[in-house]
Homo-oligomer: 376 residues x 2
């Protein structure tokens, strides 16, 4: 928690649940990334947190943006971003969204299939396009399965098609999975990309860009490698595979940029036991999986907690949200322990919750409104 | 799909994604329930779909309501419900919510722990209270784990405490899990409740109510038992355990009341393959898990689809939502097949999606707004 957030919580005691996010910390993270990968252009993954104060600060710093929808493209433009600083990174787009983005001046689009490429050829003629390939997500705490990306053989054929259809065959993207804690995942992916580059050069198509995606991890309960280690691993692999003919490099950080800039402040609604002798207490908060903590699904992302009783004796707990849905349980198997003194009405903080929280919040599940947001 | 919904979709072709719900069908379902369990009072589980047209129609029919939050209590009151027709059924409530509901005239509250009971004694003096007990959820497609309810021994002790603290020890509730397809689950639970009744009678506390919860299933892809079978099984068990000293009976249907009254209309955004020879197509819709189809988590609830090409040749598919999150995949392992002719721009209908969809929708995940709602 940054000193600014601590002071805000202490002075304002805002109604819970809410997110408090320190925009200065976002700037720090942007600079850390630039230092770790000075050759890469940063496309902030807007979906991680699309709040205007974040987009405006990043625009001022010269960041570019990775948008998942026409609505996110609009948010970037409203925050002052130039259309040529926006990549429409979703490989699944409605025709109307492509048309709107193209009309607004966006000229860079992702795809991973022939039908999507055809849409782009028709509705975004001449645009730069990049194909997303499937790569291993081992080591990621929020892996991305096979939903996005295609096999490398298909990527090669599609890039040739892109050229034939009047598009600009710009490059290749991949995503190693979010909260990726293994630098080797990037190295293996870069090797695959280099193969596609070389295959296509033989076919007369000269690609110019590698989009390294996001995935850079944030510290939750466990330590993660420093961003510099990822930078070194990535640059090492790039030089190894491309030598001194380095293509442009893009990165799409989301979690890394905003995760540790935010804290969710919540209230304990109930602490109870299921039976008189049950050693495990149930701690119910006023925010849960449907209130924004969606990434606790399968206990994937393990947030750290702060309570007013930290340092006193602890016991095992199951932590749950406030709704009548029992899937709205955050942590049952991850060995969480909280102070025995914790009780109804206490305020607790969930650390590093600046990413992938606010926009996930259900509009009104069980009648509960989405959490408030404070950008300071 | 009711004829009224079919006509509306055909005549209006509303923008997708949207829910179209036939309120007459809700009335039919209410009457079916009353016919199956004539002795039970119906408390509609508002969380299943809190739309005003539904609450107003049910108020007119004489239904009561199970509210999960103060906000849901307010929705019921605004729809014309009398406060004595509202049960505050969440066992986890903020003090401020108890106070507000009590001030509005609500006099029936659920609990499952001593700290919650203490809140009720302080802030809802004299109210009717019922204790939720843990029961088996075997046979439920959306089981409720141990989040709600306590062991029967604890329930007995707490009901005595309720009396001592000036509350009205009204009864016992349980929930066999949502989309419960086994009538035996209710019978086993009723046997446990009867045990608590008898233990408490010996202790001088005469309970008067059994809250049978919800869980009554809706037909999705697979057949489910008729509601009459549940009615018969429940009444059989009640008579077996309580003889001619039957307590009041309450039921809390949510899914059963509104599930098959609604249809989600969606658009196919992309149909693609991951490799040229991949037999499985990926079908991406403009609604997914974060757009309201939250109950497809773990492929628990298996919605049936209608497409414009039904009856033509089919092939295997994976079905996913439109966001850049790969957990936003609906069905990968449930052997869905859709017509080979299906393509980008086609409209499809997801059947029996009137329950647990609209209020789950994320406020703005990836920039996508919640689905529109049409009550006809």
């Amino acid at each position: 928690m940054t000193p600014k957030i601590a002071a805000f919580l202490c002075d304002s005691a805002p109604a819970t649940p809410c997110l408090v996010l320190d925009v200065d910390r976002v700037e720090t993270n942007y600079r850390r990334l630039k230092a770790a990968l000075p050759l890469a252009r940063v496309y902030y993954a807007v979906k991680a947190n699309p709040a205007a104060p974040i987009l405006e600060r990043l625009t001022g710093l010269g960041s570019s943006f990775d948008a998942a929808s026409w609505e996110e493209v609009q948010s970037c433009l409203e925050a002052g971003a130039r259309p040529d600083a926006i990549s429409f990174g979703n490989t699944v787009k409605k025709v109307s969204a492509i048309q709107a983005a193209y009309a607004a001046g966006v000229r860079m689009f992702a795809f991973d299939s022939e039908p999507e490429l055809k849409k782009l050829a028709q509705h975004a003629p001449g645009a730069k396009v990049y194909c997303r390939i499937l790569v291993e997500n081992k080591g990621a705490e929020w892996p991305l399965s096979r939903k996005f990306g295609c096999e490398v053989e298909m990527a090669r054929d599609l890039m040739i098609l892109a050229r034939d259809w009047g598009l600009d065959p710009y490059g290749i993207s991949f995503h190693v999975g979010s909260q990726q804690t293994t630098t080797g995942a990037y190295q293996a992916a870069i090797a695959r990309v280099a193969m596609v580059f070389s295959d296509l050069r033989e076919a007369g198509v000269k690609l110019r860009m590698v989009n390294l995606g996001g995935g850079y991890p944030v510290r939750y309960r466990a330590e993660v490698p420093e961003i510099g280690e990822f930078g070194d691993a990535i640059m090492g692999a790039m030089v190894q595979h491309f030598g001194n003919d380095l293509p442009e490099m893009l990165i799409e950080p989301g979690r890394f940029m905003v995760g540790d800039a935010g804290v969710v402040s919540a209230e304990v609604v109930l602490v109870s036991r299921k039976g008189a002798d049950d050693p495990v207490r149930w701690v119910y908060l006023d925010i849960g999986r449907f209130g924004g903590l969606a990434e606790t699904e399968g206990e994937a992302i393990k947030y750290a907690f702060r309570t007013p009783h930290d340092g006193t004796r602890e016991g095992p707990v199951t932590i749950a949200g406030p709704t009548c849905d029992s899937t709205d349980t955050l942590y049952e198997k991850s060995n969480y322990r909280l102070p025995l003194a914790l009780e109804c009405g206490d305020r607790v903080e969930l650390m590093a919750t600046g990413a992938y929280v606010t926009s996930y919040a259900a509009q009104s599940f069980n009648g509960f409104k989405p959490l408030a947001e404070h950008y300071i």
